[in-house]
Assembly symmetry: C2
Homo-oligomer: 219 residues x 2
């Protein structure tokens, strides 16, 4: 699998050291994330909404809980710009100017299309469900025909994309090294649990291993 070479709008001119067009890098950021921010133009105005996302090969699926907004007045595909951002820590420098954060982000351009075919939609919903939590698709009731009809899922090709990553401590002006301020990195980590079972569970099924072991770092 390979993505096209970077177009001008994904090519980063600022801080080029942080930019990457490597497919594995882009995919690994998408795979660590649940939420994508999807921007589109409606009546000439910018709109951005958060939505759940999942990758399957070089396709990105977008859950359409908010698709009503996107699809209003739109027939066919819709041009989107999508950002996925994971925050990894604070970067505290001796100078205000160099304060920063460590992060991994992907920005992706493309045309999103609604999935109409029921089998494709089922496969997409499976990907979104298992992105939420591994193996969940095998541990829940699959959608009825009516539910499937009531679900909107969009997809787009992961083709025009770039990643940006910042890691490590602050970049300091040499003149600032001797200043009497603490400087360093404050790493950020996500923890999950403990699981809160529904009070009306029947036959007290055990908490699934995938729930107990859940460790996703992305947001």
């Amino acid at each position: 699998m390979s993505h096209a070479s970077p177009t001008s709008r994904v090519r980063t001119t600022r801080k080029p050291k942080q930019a990457s067009y490597d497919v594995e890098t882009i995919n690994s950021i998408l795979d660590d994330a649940l939420v994508a921010h999807v921007a589109f133009v409606r009546d000439g105005h910018p709109v951005v909404i958060p939505t759940l996302q999942a990758r399957d090969g070089d396709r990105l699926y977008l859950h359409g809980s908010s698709a009503g907004q996107m699809l209003r007045d739109i027939a066919g595909g819709i041009e989107v710009c999508i950002a996925v951002t994971l925050l990894d820590g604070l970067v505290l420098a001796r100078s205000a100017f160099e304060q920063n954060v460590n992060y991994r982000s992907v920005v992706l351009y493309g045309v999103a299309n609604v999935i109409d075919d029921p089998d494709e939609k089922l496969a997409a919903l499976r990907a979104l469900t298992n992105q939420l939590i591994p193996e969940r698709w095998d541990q829940c009731r699959h959608p009825s025909r009516q539910e499937l009809k009531g679900t909107t899922i969009m997809w787009l090709a992961i083709a025009e994309a770039s990643a940006k990553i910042r890691t490590g401590g602050p970049t300091e002006n040499p003149d600032d090294i001797g200043l009497p301020f603490w400087a360093g990195e404050l790493p950020r980590r996500v923890v999950w649990g403990p699981p809160q079972p529904e009070p009306d569970l029947t036959d007290s099924p055990p908490v699934p291993p995938a729930v107990l072991a859940y460790a996703r770092q992305g947001s």
Copy 2:
């Protein structure tokens, strides 16, 4: 302080129970977040970029590390739509259709303007620095005139905004209650640290209390 009554584009028609136009609710979500996703239209196409944000009263400041992209070919204010999204947990239902996440989000429309006045810019940079970590402004070197010139900060009024919040366990179809699947909530929490000091610190200044106590839950 009061925000205007909701306009049609911030008024939520889906799941109205989750929507809020309450100023305190909106502000508390913004205050718990570091990253905002800013969407705008460039040459008719949607663009969204992540950026650091901070609130001061009914103003939202946006750090302009990516402002070059926003400002290219644009004079004066730029129309934006901004989303701030905090993920609080997974909602695992017995049916695939009802899988969900708990979250707090704000969507905000407005016109962002670059801050030109040096004093205003300094105040905005102070707000952004202290949003990153409390009291940091008093624990770092303030920007030189040159650095201040090299920093772009935009602001917009928090006026046309709405919040959406989801909490609690899954909403299940009564027919699904007896299914033999585990259902419940998996809460998500952010932890910070331990602090990683720069190796070249002078006179080993102690780690500031605000760094040790940092507990921000937002991303």
